[in-house]
Every structure is written in C-alpha cells, then in structure tokens.
Symmetry: C2
Subunit: 159 residues, 2 copies
DNA sequence: CGATCTTTTGAGACTGCATCTCAACAAGAT
DNA sequence: ATCTTGTTGAGATGCAGTCTCAAAAGATCG
C-alpha cells in the first residue's frame, strides 16, 4: 500500500483549504483507495455500511466531490445512469473500454491519441482541462459468446 | 433540405419492422432533423410543445430511442445530467469539444484517433460498436476571458 | 368504407441517482 | 473546557428517464 503518500497529501490539502479532517473523510478515502478499479457512489456507500461504518449518502457524495476537487479521484460518466469514481494513480490519465456484455471496464493508455487530442485543441484554440474517451463494445469473451451479432432489428427491445 | 432521403429511409425502416407511421413520429423526426446540432430530450419536448404540437414526454423518449435504433440519430451522454441527441449526417462519426465556460459543443473528426482506437481494440480483442470522446475545457473566447485560471482551491464551490 | 386487430399514445405515477436543507454534532483554535 | 464554524445525517427535494394502462389511432382485410 503506497496509499500513505496520497493520504498525507489529502490531509495537507484539507488543512490548506481550512477544511476538517473527519472520521468520515478518512474512512471514505480508505474505501476508495482500497478499491482496485472503478466504483460508483451507491456501491461505495453500500460497501461502507456493509463493514459497519455509519455514514450517510450525502456525506459520501459530498466527499467524493471533495476528493475530485483535490485531484485525488476522478469522476466519469460512463454508460447508463451512473458516475463512476476511481482514485487517481500516479496522475496517468487513461481511457476506457466498456463491455456492454458483461459490464466490465478495461483501462488503456494511448500516448498517440493524447498527442492527437492536443493537436486538435491547438487547431481550435481550445484549452483542454481533461477528456473522456470510451470505446463501447464487446470484450473478447462476450464477443465469442454472441458471434452472430445481428442487426438489432424487429420488435425486440429498443436498447 | 436533403432530409427527404433520410425520411424515406425512416419510413421504410418502420415498415420493415412492422411499426407504424404516426404523426408523432414524423413530427419528432422533423424536429430533430431541423436542429442543426445537439439537443436533449427535454429541450426537444419543449420545442415541440412551443410550436403547438401535442406530444407527451414518454413519446419523445420512446421515439428518440427508436431513431437511435434505426441508426438515424445518435445518443450521447455529455457533461452534467443529460443525454444529447443529434441526427446522423452521412454516417460520419465525430467527437466533441465541450466548453465549460459557455456550454458550446464543437464537433471534430480525427481519422488518426479513429485509427488508433481501432488498433487498441485489436490489441485487446475488443469488438467496438461505437465510442465517445469528449475533450472538456475552455473554448477560444472563454479562455481569453478567464486568463488566470487558478487552481480551483479554497472554500469555493466543489465542482 | 367500416370492422377488427394491434401498435402507439398520453397522463401521471414511479424509479434511481444526486443534491439540498437544516438542526445536531464535532474538529480545531484559544 | 469552551467556543466557533465546518461537517454530518435523515429525509425532503429535484430531475431525467421509464413504466403503466386505458384510450386513441394505424394498418389490414373483407
């Protein structure tokens, strides 16, 4: 766990901002940094309650936003109706492959795409603060299970 | 207006699917194809009501999804809490620069990025059906108005 | 054209995620 | 220990989107 470093930074940022170090904040920090990947606010809330912590929904949402504001977490809207949060590791911004079959989310990093993005911004005089890139489709396994991916025709569900 | 061609296609698709050609569907089609850019469902509903059409929220949502299923429109989740819809022009998939200052959305196309994405999918054995790429930041004008973009520090709003 | 069958619509209830409210609480300063 | 002020919790509220079901309107056929 090299989270200690991040935690120090968190405490420091709180002090700089004149904000308080509360049990809830530390617990939330621990929870999100113990997660290996992405998690949404409701899951986080449930996980914390499951391990006996008393914390309210409002506090979870508030402090997730706080972590984001501190640059310690990232908030992304993926498919469907939810934000996903993930703790920031080493400042590397990455992008996502989202499988519509199993819901799995795989990260990837592409310096080439990043470079092209920078170029596009330059061309438009646009000052980027961040970006989100998701490639939606089927992962290896799911693609094999549904080989004949017919046109979503007929009177079947409107996805 | 080269929408006539698209409209024929829409009518044809409806028949193929055994679905009905209703006044509401045609009206919605006209509305979204008369829009030059992106629009969300609520705006669309409001716009249609404003011009005296009687149509319900449920119908708007249902038929937007239908247009998407027909490949005539695209649905994207951008920032904040809304889906944006846009009619598909010439099948060109494009990406978006989203200005947090004025809310403007500018489209761009980058074959280079598309190629890199394809490569990434290949490397992961991922079968992509689509993607969304947004670059969030400040457009030319807004960037000049807020030159000293300080760190979002202090006790100001948690964005 | 009118009867019939089936899809579609509309109004409003409902859902789920997220935010807001405000009194009670607790962290940090003195 | 006390005081000040940021923070919390419970529930209300907001909002986008979905669902329900009876009524209305396409399509089909005689």
């Amino acid at each position: 766990m090299s989270d200690a470093r991040e935690k120090q930074r968190f405490l420091q940022l709180l002090r700089e901002r004149g904000q308080r170090v509360t049990g809830e904040r530390l617990a939330l920090f621990d929870e999100i940094f113990s997660q290996h990947g992405h998690i949404d606010a409701e899951e986080l809330l449930a996980a914390m309650k499951a391990r006996g912590l008393k914390i309210s929904r409002a506090t979870v949402y508030r402090n997730l936003d706080l972590l984001v504001a501190c640059g310690l977490a990232r908030k992304q809207r993926l498919e469907r109706n939810r934000f996903l949060y993930e703790h920031v590791h080493s400042g590397q911004q990455h992008d996502h492959l989202v499988c519509t079959g199993c819901g799995r989310v795989v990260e990837f990093i592409s310096p080439g795409i990043a470079a092209l993005q920078a170029e596009i911004c330059r061309a438009h005089g646009f000052v980027a603060t961040r970006h989100t890139l998701q490639i939606i489709g089927l992962c290896n396994q799911c693609a094999q299970q549904q080989p004949a991916k017919a046109v979503p025709g007929g009177r079947t569900a409107h996805v």
